[in-house]
Structures are given as structure tokens and as C-alpha cells.
């Protein structure tokens, strides 16, 4: 007798735990491979995993076994030309003996163990140790970080939370279920009793017996309790985390005519990386995208990255817009504000001091961290030097870095967002 069982639906990913254990054990190797990959890879294709290879000797599971050498006789199939007693020269690389033992040593450990990690695992390794700087967890302490919400009905709970309607409904149902047959019987007996009293009032024995039976049934029905512990229903309340430490990230980017295609590309990658990072690390974070040329515009993610405009450059327009949005939507006592700006360093000459003043007076006092990346292989221009003043005024919370090519993004990114101690 055989049973055929369809197991396709259950037990998927049984090896998941083992896989995670493996990744955990070799995280050093994997992290190194990931960092190399990020340097090489175009940031826009973060949608797939990565191939990792680990030197075979680091990953071996050693067992006791015979080494080369000594006297070994092996039977092989497929003889073609050999005759008994024939002497064959030792083949290169194969065979045993002291001579070729050397050869095999040089080959040892060259076998790489190669495997694939998923995109999610890839990003995990990439973002490890990165964290938004100085994220002050302002309101995370105290009781108001949780709010209680109703989450249905439970059969266990605190007496003060009892749900009377549900409790009585279930008690009622239970009473019907437990006494149903007795009631039907009782009804029939009562009818019988009435008939007996009417038609055969002299048959006292039977009437008495029937009356006793009616009483017995009545007692049995009465024994079913009105309310049982089993019936009790409670309102279920659960606590939902309600972190009041919220963060908003402003992304500012120059899309003016002075930005070449390549520069825009690098800038975009920086933001994509940033954005991926934000989306992963902080569930409750809002992102505001502002792009600018001579005037600034708040756009959605899609437009921010994928639409193009040309024209001159006035950086202060973006900063002004950012300041307005901050004032209107993100009160400082509720929000941690972060900003990242990407530009090629070009600006309308008279505008750079305006930017500096805007930053120093109206933006930096309210912002946790402001990072500026300048994507240019050329000499710095006015904007960079004005921003150096800002950096002097706010050394803790203002950072500027220069990028030249896509390969520089990751180190700079790490530099900018290295885990910092909350002072």
C-alpha cells in the first residue's frame, strides 16, 4: 500500500535557517565582496543580488583522510592499450608521489566556493553600519510612544474590559446548544400531560410519572448555568508603537543646463543610493524632493530622477523652497530634518553668498545634518567656498564632499553617513 502526498505547498525554504547561519559565519568575506561590487556596479541596478566567492580553504569542513603518497592500487574502467605488467610514465599533475605532491599543493585552495546572494541580502550587507547621523530619539522615551488600539475580541482578558454583548450572546448560544434536546423533550411531555389530564384524568399513576419526568427535565435545564467562564469575551487592546521621533529628508538637486549628462547621472546615483538606504532603514521617514535650475520645484520621486530640464542655476531658489516647506509642514519640535544636496558647483555668482546666509540663518539651526556633494572634476567655484563658511559655523552638522566618478560614490556615501555617536 502506498500513499501519495503532495508536499509542494509546505516546507518551502526549509534551508533558510541554515543559509542564514552560513552567511552569518562568512560575513567578513561577503562584506568585502559586496563593497567591491558596489564600487564596480552601476547603482541603478540594485535590483539583483551578487555573486560571492570565498576561497575554498576558508570554508572547508576538514575530515581525516589519506593524503597522496605511499603505495596505492586503483582499478579503472575503459582500458584501451595497457597490458599486464606494463610500465607507464607518471602523468603530469596526476599520480601520487613526492614529486607531484608539490604540484597539487599549488593547486590547493584555488577552488573557490562561489554562490549567489539575493538583492535583499546584498543591500543588508551594503547598509550595515550605516545610520543617519545624530538621529536624536527625542520622544522615544516615556509612555506616549505607544498608543492602544482595539484589536478585536479575545476570550482572555481583564474584567474591566469585558464585552457584555458578546459575552451574553455566546452564553445564549451555549445554553441553547446544551439544553436543546431537553427542551424539545419537555415540550412533548407537557403536551402529553395536558392531554392526559384532559382525556384520562383518572389515570393518576401515569400522570404522576409524567409530572415527575417533567420536573426532572426542568431541573436538568436549570442546571445549565446562565453564564459560564467559557462565555466571557473581552475587548482586546494592543499597543502600537507610535514613535514621535520622525525624520524628513530633503533631497536637493541641480538639473540646470550646466549639469552635464554624466554629472546628473552621478548625482542621481547618489540619491538613489541614499533613497534606498532611507527606505530600508527608516520606515517612518518622509522624503521631499526638490529640483532646481533658476527656479525650484517640489516633485515626486519619479519626476525627480527621470525628467529633464535646462536653464541657468540659482541654488538659493531650492534652499528658499526647502526653508518654506520646513516652516509649513515640518515643525522642528516634531521632526528631525536632514538634507542632501547634489550639484556641479556652478551657481549664479551673486547667488552664492545668498545661499550661505540662507543656510546659516534659516536652515542650519533647525537641521540635524546637511550634506553637500559636488560632482565635478574641475576646480571648486564660489559655492564651495561659501559652503566652507557654513561648515565652519556648523562643523558638527554640515558636511561637504567632492565626487568625480560613479566609483567614488560609495566611499563618500559611507563617509557622510558613518555611524556617529549621539552626543
Amino acid at each position: 500500500m502506498s500513499y501519495v502526498i503532495d508536499r509542494r505547498l509546505n516546507g518551502k525554504n526549509k534551508s533558510m535557517v541554515n543559509r542564514q547561519r552560513f552567511l552569518q559565519r562568512y560575513r567578513g568575506h561577503i562584506k568585502k565582496a559586496v563593497e567591491e561590487a558596489v564600487g564596480k556596479r552601476s547603482i541603478t541596478d540594485m535590483e539583483h543580488g551578487e555573486q560571492i566567492s570565498i576561497p575554498g580553504r576558508d570554508i572547508d569542513e576538514p575530515v581525516l583522510h589519506h593524503g597522496r603518497g605511499g603505495r596505492q592500487t586503483i582499478v579503472h574502467p575503459g582500458n584501451k592499450e595497457f597490458t599486464a605488467g606494463e610500465r607507464i610514465p607518471r602523468p603530469d599533475g596526476g599520480g601520487g608521489g613526492q614529486g607531484s605532491g608539490q604540484a597539487s599543493n599549488s593547486g590547493e585552495g584555488m577552488d573557490e566556493f562561489v554562490f549567489q546572494i539575493t538583492q535583499e541580502e546584498f543591500l543588508d550587507f551594503m547598509f550595515e553600519d550605516l545610520e543617519l547621523p545624530n538621529l536624536v530619539k527625542r520622544h522615544l522615551t516615556g509612555t506616549d510612544t505607544f498608543k492602544t488600539v482595539r484589536a478585536g475580541i479575545s476570550s482572555e482578558g481583564n474584567p474591566s474590559r469585558i464585552n457584555i454583548v458578546r459575552t451574553l450572546r455566546s452564553a445564549h448560544a451555549r445554553r441553547i446548544a446544551l439544553s436543546g434536546s431537553s427542551r424539545a423533550e419537555l415540550k412533548a411531555l407537557k403536551a402529553e400531560l395536558a392531554r392526559l389530564k384532559q382525556e384520562e384524568p383518572d389515570n393518576l399513576n401515569v400522570i404522576q410519572a409524567t409530572e415527575q419526568e417533567v420536573e426532572r427535565l426542568q431541573a436538568r435545564i436549570n442546571r445549565v448555568p446562565y453564564l459560564d467562564t467559557f462565555d466571557l469575551k473581552y475587548n482586546l487592546l494592543t499597543k502600537q508603537p507610535n514613535p514621535s521621533s520622525k525624520a524628513v529628508m530633503f533631497c536637493l538637486m541641480d538639473v540646470s543646463g550646466s549639469m552635464t549628462q554624466a554629472t546628473k547621472d552621478v548625482a542621481k546615483r547618489f540619491f538613489i543610493l541614499l533613497y534606498l538606504f532611507l527606505k530600508r532603514s527608516y520606515d517612518k521617514i518622509e522624503v521631499v524632493f526638490i529640483r532646481h535650475h533658476t527656479s525650484a520645484k517640489e516633485v515626486d520621486e519619479q519626476e525627480f530622477f527621470y525628467s529633464r530640464e535646462t536653464g541657468g542655476t540659482i541654488v538659493s531658489s531650492a534652499l528658499k523652497m526647502m526653508q518654506e516647506i520646513m516652516a509649513a509642514r515640518y515643525p522642528v519640535n516634531e521632526w528631525n530634518i536632514y538634507a542632501a544636496q547634489a550639484s556641479d558647483g556652478d551657481n549664479w555668482n551673486d547667488d552664492s553668498p545668498v545661499c550661505r546666509d540662507l543656510l546659516i540663518n534659516q536652515i542650519m539651526p533647525f537641521v540635524q545634518y546637511f550634506s553637500y556633494v559636488e560632482i565635478t572634476p574641475r576646480e571648486h567655484q564660489a559655492l564651495w567656498y561659501e559652503y566652507e563658511n557654513v561648515h565652519e559655523a556648523f562643523p558638527e552638522s554640515f558636511a561637504q564632499q567632492q565626487l568625480v566618478s560613479a566609483a567614488d560614490i560609495y566611499p563618500v556615501f559611507r563617509e557622510l553617513f558613518q555611524r556617529r555617536m549621539v552626543s
Partner: protein
């Protein structure tokens, strides 16, 4: 009168699988009298098959990174199409569990049913090694117990501690089996019940061994000290560790025991690979051909079947780039087929070589061969000159003291016997693995453990020996030595931790008396 074929397309359905199973089972039982455990056929996906692969076929395994490693490498080669997955995995349990992959065609499913559910299954039930050494009815329960126990240890003592311990045990897993002593059948229930008692008892026993206060009897001094412990060398290193390692906690001894028990469970499989696969291949070949003779399968079905079958028993020759040793399927299948031929149409040569089986009832002889042998003795007994000729077997002697290789014997009249003996020896696990035994423990000195490796034909130990000794050192807790002996001469020694360079003994402190 030909009957209607069971199916004509290549798609499988549950009904078809059931129907094939019934027909194959009917022929296996009624015509050939194969005795099997009940079958449990499970349909799984490719991914689940890789899972099963990763855990070396154990349906339930404890968590360990090495299984993750196997999974990753299987997954990689499968996704790149470098490797097809095995069509089936079968587990020696009662009921016998066979996994079928959903990607397979109905022909492949039928082949797998014949191969696993009737071939391997009857081997598990019939072969003496499996009958005496494993207990099919309790293995699933035991694996379940092992998984839970190890998970509990991880909770209590941390994943890293358990993982390190398992690493060390796995390194010595092949030395965790009793080769000659029949082990007690394993039982999860009993394990759990006795676990508590055992923990206490074991600890007491160990403490007794390491008692530091001298006993009154110890006056005999020198003579008592010269006695070795253990008195006889012990082949089961993990068992010795479990019972006598001085520093292990009770839970660690339990984990050692679990690894040991699982190694013991797989030991018969390692000793009967050629027979087991040959037997199963012989039966899928025979049973499916019978289905065809009864008109239950079509010509198209047979073509697909024969293609897979010949793929399974393909033996690349020694100079082919695909060559990686003798294919156990080919060897086993050839021998079983030849036994049948010797019984049914014996030639003069057969009558000379196999006087007792030539012309006998083939089914009885075949079952005898399956029941009472393991690979080594099976080849020694049944490898016929014809099979040696067909496979063109020849031997190569590689001696590191000589400059050239020699060919001691080939497939000719003078060489048959030598080839047969050499090939049998090649399947003797005792020859394949270095012979290493626990030799001595320095009970009153530094508590160091000495192992002795008896060299066979001067074959040295492989390069991972040092790493294994590190693991052994972790388990034992004190110094570990491994000495290689050729005959009565010590040729090599390993030490963990490695010995410092020999220094002048002048500075040694002198004991006050």
C-alpha cells in the same frame, strides 16, 4: 492480448502516479516477491529537493551552517544548468519515504517509483547491514528529537557554542561509528526519558575517572601507571569523547552522542553504495520492461525510459574528461544483471567460476546476494570475468618509491582474480579511511590524549589532519597527539597545540622530594 496503456502523454497526475505505483507494486510483489516497507511517495518542488539535498537526505535535520553551504552550492549549479537534480531521494524509514520532483514527466515518475519505492525500499528491508544496524521505524522520531534538543541547546547556551561543538563533531563524524559492535536501536522516546538520568550518571563516571585524590590501591605505583587507558585501543573516537572527555558539560556530551548516532545510521549506506544502487537500477529496469511486455506503457514511454536509464549507467572511461571514478550504478547493475545471466544461461567459464550458482534459480540467488553482503564482499563474491571484460577494468599501481606507474593486472585470464580482489578492497571502508584509534590517555600526567594511526601501504594522512586535530582538541580540552605508525615504526606525529621547538632541558624545575 495487449492491454490499454496506462498513459500516453508526458504529463503526470496524482491518479496516474497511483496507478503506476499499483501496477509496478503488483509485479514486484506477485511476480518477484519483493518485500518492502509501505511506501510514502511525496511530490516536492525543485527547491524542496535542494533542501533535501542540503540536509544529506535527512527529512528533518538540525540547523547548521554547513547545510546552508551545501544548499547554496546546489542552488547555484542547478540554476546555471550545470547540474540536473537527482530524480529522487529515498529515506530508509518505515514507511519508506520517496521524494518525487514535480518537474519530472510521468515516465520519470514511474522510473523513480520502480527504482526507489521497490528497489531501494526492498534493499533497506532485506540487506543484513540495514536490518542489524538501523531501525527504520524510529529514525524519523529520533531526528525530530535531535533537532529539538539541539534547538534547545542553542537557546540555552547560544548558537555559537553549539555551532562550534557541531563543527568539531562533524570533523570526526566518520570516527563516530562502531564498525563491529551492533549498536542498540535508537528510540527518541527512550532517549528523552533516560536523558536526565544519563546526564547525571555520565558526569559522575567522568568525575570518577579524573579523581585527583589518590586511592589506597594506588600504592602499586609504577606498574599501575604503565597501564594504558583505554586498555584496548578504541576505534569509535566520538564515543570515547562522549564518555571520557574531562571538560565537556552534560549537554555537550548529548550533542556528541546525537552526531554519533546519526553517523551510525548512515554507516550501512556508505558500505553498500554499489549494491544498493545496482539493486535499485536492476529492478527499475526489470519492472518497467515488464510493464512494457504487458502492454501497459507505450513505445514512446520506453524510449524516454531507456534514454534516462542509459544515462544513469553511463561509465566514462578513465581517460575521459567526465571520468570521476567507477560509477556505482554501472558496476552494481552490471553485476546483478550478470548474476541473472549466470543463473539462466551459464557458459563453461561461469560453471568454472561460479559452480554453486550457475544454473540455479536466479531470483533466489539474486535475493541472497542482496541480503547477505556489503559492497566489499559482494564484489569479491560476484564480480565475474564477463563484467570485468565488459567494463575493461584494469589496475594501476602508484608507488611513491618508484618513478613509473605499473599495471599489475588487466581484464584477462591471468588478471581476473587480482582485479576482483583489488576492486573489492577499494570498497572496503577500512582501507578508504585512515585507520586511527584512541591509544592512550595520560591520566596522571597532563591528561593528553594520544591517537595512533596505523599506516596502510605507507599512505600518509591528508593535509586537513591539523584542522581535524584542532577540533579534537576543542572536544578533549587538553593536549592531543596523533602518531602515524608503519608496522612497528613511528613515522610521523602531529600535536595540538603544536609542540614548541625542542629547547634545552637545563631550565626544568627540579621537584622537591
Amino acid at each position: 492480448m495487449k492491454r490499454q496503456p496506462i498513459s500516453t502523454g508526458s504529463e503526470w497526475t496524482f491518479e496516474l502516479i497511483q496507478e503506476y505505483d499499483q501496477e509496478i507494486g503488483r509485479i514486484a510483489r506477485e511476480r518477484y516477491g519483493l518485500e518492502t516497507y509501505p511506501n510514502q511517495i511525496e511530490i516536492i518542488t525543485a527547491e524542496q529537493m535542494m533542501d533535501a539535498y542540503a540536509s544529506v537526505g535527512m527529512p528533518i535535520g538540525y540547523s547548521h551552517w554547513s547545510y546552508g553551504k551545501h544548499f547554496l552550492s546546489t542552488e547555484k549549479s542547478y540554476k546555471r544548468g550545470q547540474m540536473g537534480l537527482a530524480y529522487e531521494i529515498v529515506i530508509n524509514s518505515d514507511p519508506c519515504i520517496a521524494y518525487l520532483m514535480e518537474e519530472n514527466t510521468i515516465t520519470m515518475q514511474a522510473l523513480v517509483i520502480a527504482h526507489a519505492c521497490y528497489g531501494h525500499n526492498s534493499f533497506f528491508k532485506g540487506n543484513y547491514l540495514f536490518r542489524t544496524w538501523t531501525d527504520a521505524s524510529s529514525i524519523i522520531d529520533y531526528l525530530m528529537f535531535a533537532k529539538q534538543y539541539i534547538a534547545r541547546c542553542e537557546e540555552r547556551h547560544g548558537i555559537a557554542a553549539v555551532e562550534n561543538l557541531l563543527d568539531s563533531c562533524h570533523a570526526l563524524m566518520n570516527y563516530g561509528v562502531d564498525r563491529y559492535k551492533r549498536p542498540y536501536p535508537i528510540s527518541a522516546e527512550e532517549e528523552q526519558r533516560r536523558q536526565k538520568d544519563r546526564e547525571e550518571y555520565l558526569q559522575r563516571q567522568v568525575n570518577d575517572l579524573w579523581r585527583t585524590i589518590p586511592r589506597a590501591l594506588d600504592k602499586g605505583g609504577a606498574q599501575a601507571q604503565r597501564k594504558r587507558f583505554p586498555v584496548e585501543p578504541q576505534e569509535n573516537i566520538l564515543y570515547f569523547i562522549e564518555k571520557h572527555a574531562p571538560l565537556l558539560e552534560p549537554w555537550q556530551r548529548e550533542v556528541v552522542r546525537i552526531v554519533r548516532k546519526i553517523a551510525q545510521y548512515f554507516y550501512p549506506q556508505r558500505q553498500t553504495q554499489v549494491m544498493n544502487e545496482g539493486w535499485a537500477t536492476f529492478w527499475h529496469y526489470t519492472l518497467i520492461n515488464d510493464l512494457y511486455d504487458e502492454g501497459l506503457v507505450t513505445e514512446g514511454f520506453m524510449l524516454e525510459f531507456l534514454q534516462s536509464h542509459s544515462g544513469v549507467i553511463y561509465q566514462p572511461s578513465f581517460d575521459s574528461r567526465w571520468y570521476s571514478g567507477i560509477n556505482p550504478y554501472t558496476l552494481g547493475f552490471s553485476i546483478f544483471r550478470d548474476i541473472r545471466r549466470i543463473c539462466e544461461e551459464p557458459t563453461d567459464e561461469d560453471k568454472r567460476w561460479f559452480p554453486d550458482i550457475a544454473g540455479s534459480d536466479w531470483l533466489t540467488t539474486l535475493k541472497f546476494a542482496m541480503r547477505d553482503f556489503k559492497d566489499e564482499s559482494f564484489i569479491l563474491q560476484f564480480l565475474s570475468p564477463k563484467v570485468i571484460r565488459d567494463l575493461k577494468l584494469f589496475s594501476v599501481l602508484d608507488d611513491d618509491q618508484q618513478d613509473v606507474l605499473t599495471v599489475p593486472a588487466i581484464h584477462d585470464e591471468a588478471g581476473y582474480r587480482t582485479i576482483r580482489e583489488l576492486l573489492a578492497a577499494q570498497y572496503n571502508l577500512g582501507n578508504r579511511e585512515p585507520n586511527i584509534q584512541v591509544w592512550n590517555v595520560d591520566l596522571r600526567g597532563d591528561r593528553s590524549l594520544t591517537l595512533r594511526h596505523q599506516q596502510h601501504n605507507r599512505k600518509p594522512l591528508g593535509e586537513s589532519t591539523e584542522s581535524v586535530l584542532k577540533h579534537l582538541h576543542r572536544l578533549w580540552g587538553f593536549n592531543v597527539h596523533l602518531e602515524s605508525w608503519q608496522d612497528d615504526r613511528r613515522v610521523n606525529a602531529y600535536h595540538m597545540p603544536p609542540l614548541p621547538d625542542p629547547s634545552p632541558t637545563a631550565g626544568l624545575p627540579v621537584l622537591m622530594t
